[in-house]
């Protein structure tokens, strides 16, 4: 076994060339141990989603390498070949856009089960129902199409679909930013349950409240670079970088107040 389940080594991603060249991710290294929840936090345009896509095998890095269980993920134009493919799954930001509007929640999840397990229709639907129930979607709601579900329910269907492959790593790109506060609490409770079951989670978010609640370690990203990283609690209590301080001071409510007080003192 490799020391890290998922590891990014000196990853850079560049889009375009010449005058339109954009360096979205610059020389970022990141590690994820088995069963660990880590966070990537930053503003829009900081490159956090691009990095998540690299980790998910959807974006070939310009430089650097991703390792899953010690094995390089990208082999030529292919990524996550063989057994590794099912082990890293992703949940996207927009529950409205990431589900097929024509498929019921049940069919969407059952389809994923069929692809990964190569089972028949009945078996896959049974497993899909089980997964959905675990996500708090009753059978009655499972046979509804996405437009009939609330944002929170849709996001839980997306999580069920990602879990259908029995992954060891779940990459979640802003999973809570498009849903209500109470739905957010539901989803986070679910994530916590999944962590207890041994799943590793990479949570990408600009919501520092969510990051603080769920993750143990966090990488703070700005303009494609990790400006600070470490134990979440330590970073929240004692941020070193000016940018992290500013980010913390911007949180509305209790958390921000403490950070603002510190920022003003300095």
């Amino acid at each position: 076994m490799a020391e890290f389940l998922l590891e990014a080594k000196n990853v850079s991603v560049t889009f375009g060339s010449g005058s339109t060249k954009v360096e979205a991710v610059k020389n970022c290294s990141l590690t994820l141990r088995s069963g660990e929840p880590i966070g990537i936090v930053g503003e829009s345009g900081s490159g956090k989603s691009t990095l998540a896509r690299v980790l998910a095998g959807l974006q070939v890095p310009t430089e650097g390498e991703i390792y899953f269980n010690g094995e390089p993920v990208y082999k030529g134009s292919k990524s996550y070949t063989g057994e590794a493919r099912r082990q890293v799954q992703m949940v996207f930001q927009d529950p409205y856009g990431s589900l097929n509007p024509q498929l019921t929640g049940l069919n969407a999840v059952a389809e994923a089960v069929r692809i990964h397990d190569k089972t028949n229709k009945e078996e896959s639907e049974n497993r899909a129902l089980k997964l959905l129930r675990r996500m708090g979607i009753a059978e009655l709601d499972a046979i509804k199409k996405p437009r009939q579900l609330s944002g929170g329910q849709r996001q839980r269907v997306s999580v069920a679909r990602a879990l259908s492959a029995n992954p060891t790593v779940l990459l979640a790109d802003e999973p809570t930013s498009a849903i209500d506060q109470s739905a957010q609490a539901q989803l986070l409770n679910l994530f916590r349950g999944l962590l207890d079951d041994g799943l590793s989670i990479v949570l990408v978010s600009h919501d520092l409240g969510v990051i603080r609640y769920l993750t143990k370690r966090v990488y703070v990203m700005k303009d494609g670079v990790f400006v600070e990283s470490g134990i979440t609690e330590e970073i929240f209590n004692d941020p070193r970088e000016e940018y992290t301080k500013l980010l913390l001071a911007s949180i509305p409510g209790e958390l921000g107040v403490a950070a603002r007080r510190k920022l003003n003192k300095i």
Partner: protein, 329 residues
């Protein structure tokens, strides 16, 4: 400065429905009640579908264009009942006494107009067509846009989300409105930008004395910037009070909303969630519409009409008929 503690706009027993040719009218807001005083900053909070945006539209008179209708109740703005106002009346108010900042900053500005033209259009609305350019610059200064001369010549796509929202606020402020309505003005913007926009709104309030209505589902945000809070659930106002008063909520929904807040939760602890989903429009049961999700529900909660706010306007009001049981939560 305007007179404090005098209502600028009053929403009284407002019921909003969507009429349908064949089916019966669908009621989407039933009994909304609250006042907004001169120079006050009020937050309206609630889940999606609770009717926040609908109430907002009654205050700017765009309800009918979207197929809605005020079935009963009064919307009193400076002594004038607007519930049945015609287009001409609204035209004289909207974009003049009442300004509006839309939800989606990215789609808000007209994409084919440069910022200068955008602001000029808003300024011409005032009837005073002199010195438009100078006044535009003043407005951009007011919303703290730097490099004003460059920005004036730019198209919306050349600006960041935060800048675009500032431009929208500048447009809304063009006519020095008495009431500014901001419908989730920072949804989709970064936290740092959000805190800048909030600081800006606070500052505008204190320099111009404009009353501001901030619609949001982020309780922490509302707590921080507003004086008073209106809580909505399934089309009804369930609690109204000052931010201080709402630290001790008197409605089970507000209590539940408060405890599902992530910023105060201990990392890794079980988050409190609100049971079930908010009842969909058209599927409302008799009595209190929160009853199905409430932990202290009693048998008399499920009969009759939805309870109205109890208490005098301006005081801490709650629509819960069993506030004596709240300690059990």
């Amino acid at each position: 400065m305007s007179t404090p503690n005098k209502p600028l706009i009053q929403i009284k027993d407002v019921v909003i429905g969507i009429p349908h040719k064949r089916r019966p009218t669908l009621i989407i807001v039933d009994k909304a009640n609250f006042d907004i005083n001169y120079g006050e900053m009020v937050g309206i909070v609630g889940e999606s579908g609770s009717g926040k945006t609908m109430i907002c539209r009654t205050m700017i008179g765009t309800l009918e264009r979207r197929g809605g209708k005020i079935m009963s109740g009064e919307v009193i703005f400076e002594g004038q009942n607007l519930a049945k106002a015609n287009d001409a009346t609204w035209k004289s108010l909207r974009g003049k006494s009442i300004g509006y900042v839309p939800q989606s900053a990215l789609a808000g500005p007209n994409p084919v107009l440069i910022i200068e033209a955008q602001l000029a259009e808003a300024l011409r609305n005032t009837g005073d067509t002199k010195n438009i350019k100078a006044r535009s610059k003043e407005l951009l200064d007011l919303v703290k846009i730097r490099r004003v001369d460059t920005v004036m010549k730019q198209y919306p796509y050349q600006l960041s989300g935060g800048m675009r929202q500032r431009v929208m606020i500048a447009c809304a402020l063009a006519t020095s409105p008495k009431l500014l309505i901001a419908d989730e003005p920072t949804t989709g913007l970064d936290v740092t930008v959000q805190s800048q926009i909030m600081d800006l709104l606070k500052e505008i309030r204190s320099t111009t004395g404009t009353a501001i209505v901030l619609i949001s589902h982020d309780l922490a945000l509302i707590d921080e910037v507003c004086d008073r809070v209106v809580v909505m659930h399934a089309g009804a106002t369930v609690e109204v009070g000052s931010v201080k008063e709402l630290e001790k909520p008197r409605h089970p929904y507000t209590i539940a909303l408060n405890s599902s807040r992530i910023d105060v939760a201990k990392p890794g602890s079980e988050l409190v969630t609100i049971k079930g989903n908010a009842p969909s429009v058209g599927e409302w049961n008799p009595g209190c519409r929160f009853a199905e999700r409430c932990s202290i529900v009693q048998s008399d909660c499920k009969v009759g009409n939805h309870p109205v706010l109890i208490g005098a306007s301006g005081a801490h009001q709650s629509a819960c008929i069993h506030t004596e049981l709240l300690e059990r939560i």
